[in-house]
Symmetry: C2
Subunit: 404 residues, 2 copies
DNA sequence: TTGTAAGCGTTATCAA
DNA sequence: TTGATAACGCTTACAA
């Protein structure tokens, strides 16, 4: 009975002679060895065949094909990747998959990657920078071919991991954001935006603290730049204000979603406020209550009418809030845009279906994913760093903000 | 100069003496070896420390901790999994992530898995059984700890892969469906449902062919059962019909979404038709046009009013279609439910916001994910097969179907 | 065109 | 408590 001895030729593992069922070895799966035995060649030949059939003689190929299908071989990717050092996995970190915005982007990324044979490892961070760092750390253990993260604000630890990955030649792409290029003043830091939102609302201290932590912990790490595919939320916020100003409004409100670490929404809010004030208008920053977004929007509209009757136009952090407000206005018989103009963000499908149709900002939700895929694939191919890209958005003016 | 020779002790690879930066070896990353060298121990000790710090002496642990942070070590999961045969990855196959229904389930699964330290590999199949099989094959190369697929209809190849995986001890869970248990007749096969839908619409031959292929290619493989977490679409379809019948309607329509391989929608439609006919009512099966769902719903309402004026109630494959119809009815001044009762499926947030509020079927979107996670984690722990589970749904009666 | 040998970075096993 | 050694399943490099 051959115990583990130093024989020159180790006993062929568990006689892969059996008809078709698995040869039990290690963890009991069919390996390249098993297939090779079936085909009467060695493992390396099968390996070659799998990667490039042309490298193998035709009749050998035939036997290998037969062996492959009769054994039901599934290549072990851990082993392959370990040996070759080549990964075909892309890691994606998003705040929340249930949010249609990120889900569409994930689908876009998946679409763009699938043809190239890449797979998608997705982790969701729940809008928490802490969880983002933990997830990133976990995901990096797979040594993904590329890394896609959401936004440009991260914890210092996350920045370090991203910088290390990038230094190791892994394309790192930040999506859903694109830094403002040399603004002519006005655009403050996102930290200030967070602070502003916190100051304006009546949320309890814990939320305040969280927001403050977010604001201070997320400054860009020492000069390292990453590829960005998205748009400037600062630009959008300003455009939203300008749109309402152009329609003649002088008392405005910006309604933030109340998600402490959604700094992109805060940035839009701050830009909105700045632009409005620069134009001599009065602005109030409101934070929507938690819970279902439509209901929150309804509530906000009520509060605005009650507590700040001078306000004639409101912009929202997303279309669900705005639609809620619109529906509530309809219910109360409040004229839109006559008494109150409403402007959303996201241009969800429902926006143009309501009556009056909701003005909103159309976003490249799916394109962010496909463009990220394109950018990262070409970077992988060329070895050059991935290209940043500012994607287009459009403020779609509909009835809800029609000029007076 | 030591070339590759058979020295007893291979030269310590690329002197890991340097302060902190990576020791370049293999593919240039910090390995367990490097950390061990820093700490003055061997790799296996560091490995032990990582998995169970208690197994290591306190002062050794201290040195390892220091080495770990100074090197910025990231464990290589491919190597770990290859060596241990233990996976911490769960693979999820969904038709489309951009569909809020599946996105929420994915988020639920992610939520349920995260605490247990599992990661999520997501692939989207675009409602194509062919792509599902390809994706499954790709994903299996990672030897995931568990497999979550959508629905109970798959290609024969997919079934085989699923059965093999299950036989190898990998929990396989089918979500968003739950087979009817011993029905008292009436419920035909999904293949028939597909055929019925195809027969009722005016789609071009190619779509017809696809649907037919789907219908014939997706019968369950020889008796193998998989864990199912979801609900019976047959039950839901019947309940939808009964709800409308109870309100006194005798001329009904079921509006299918027109996605050929969405057999679950077809099943609901068939059950709806059967139940209505069994009650002596007249039913028409309509297939919505492609394109944006709200617009499709609007269009369908117009057609119904024009071509089938006797119909007084319509049920839809999803809330977006139904909402479109509802909004179109409002626009035309058509009374809902007076002239036409409308019933949706999915109970999206918008349903109860509209006026009249849309009756719909509330689904355990997020729960399907969390329950799948629970079931599969406990299966992984106990070694028993994962438990199936019929999750609750509820037909929420609102104004749009209020009885006459 | 095919094969041999070595090694990828980790963990299981057994020994000290 | 720590270490030596041999896998895990595959691919690279080189040889035949």
């Amino acid at each position: 009975m051959p115990t583990r001895a130093t024989t020159a030729k180790p006993a062929p593992p568990a006689a892969p002679a059996a008809p078709s069922r698995q040869a039990r070895r290690g963890h009991g799966r069919v390996t390249l060895q098993d297939v090779a035995a079936h085909a009467g060649v060695t493992a390396i030949t099968v390996s070659r065949f799998l990667r490039d059939p042309a490298q193998v003689a035709e009749d050998t190929a035939t036997r290998i094909r037969a062996a492959l299908s009769s054994t039901g071989y599934v290549p072990n990717k851990q082993a392959g990747q370990l040996a070759s050092g080549v990964s075909n996995m892309v890691a994606l970190l998003v705040p929340n998959l249930a949010n249609s915005i990120f889900a569409e982007t994930a689908q876009g990324l998946s679409d763009g990657l699938q043809a190239a044979g890449f797979e998608l490892l997705i982790a969701s961070t729940g809008y928490s920078l802490e969880r983002e760092e933990a997830q990133l750390r976990a995901v990096l253990g797979w040594f993904p071919a590329a890394l896609v993260v959401t936004g440009r604000r991260h914890s210092p630890g996350t920045f370090k991991l991203m910088a290390d990955a990038q230094a190791a030649g892994v394309p790192v792409v930040e999506i859903w954001d694109h830094e403002v290029t040399a603004r002519r003043g006005g655009a403050k830091d996102a930290a200030a935006a967070v602070a502003a939102v916190v100051a304006a609302d009546g949320t309890p201290p814990t939320t305040r603290a969280a927001a403050h932590a977010a604001a201070t912990a997320t400054r860009r790490s020492a000069g390292v730049r990453f590829t960005q595919i998205g748009f400037s939320h600062d630009d959008v916020g300003r455009a939203m204000a300008e749109h309402l100003l152009r329609a003649g409004h002088r008392r405005l409100a910006y309604v933030d979603s109340g998600v402490a670490e959604d700094y992109r929404a805060h940035e839009r809010g701050l830009a909105f406020v700045n632009a409005a004030q620069a134009a001599g208008a009065k602005v109030t920053l409101v934070v929507a209550p938690g819970g279902e977004a439509f209901d929150a929007g309804r509530h906000v509209l009520g509060e605005l009418l009650r507590a700040q009757p001078a306000i004639t136009a409101a912009a929202f952090a997303n279309d669900h809030l705005a639609c809620g407000a619109l529906l509530e206005a309809n219910r109360r018989g409040v004229a839109v845009p006559g008494r109150m103009a409403l402007l959303g963000f996201g241009d969800f499908a429902i926006a143009r279906q309501l009556s009056p149709a909701l003005s909103s900002v159309q976003l490249p939700r799916h394109a962010i994913g496909t463009e990220a895929a394109r950018s990262l694939l070409s970077a992988l191919k060329s070895g050059e760093p991935a290209e940043s890209m500012a994607l287009g958005w459009a403020l779609v003016a509909r009835e809800s903000t029609a000029g007076g």
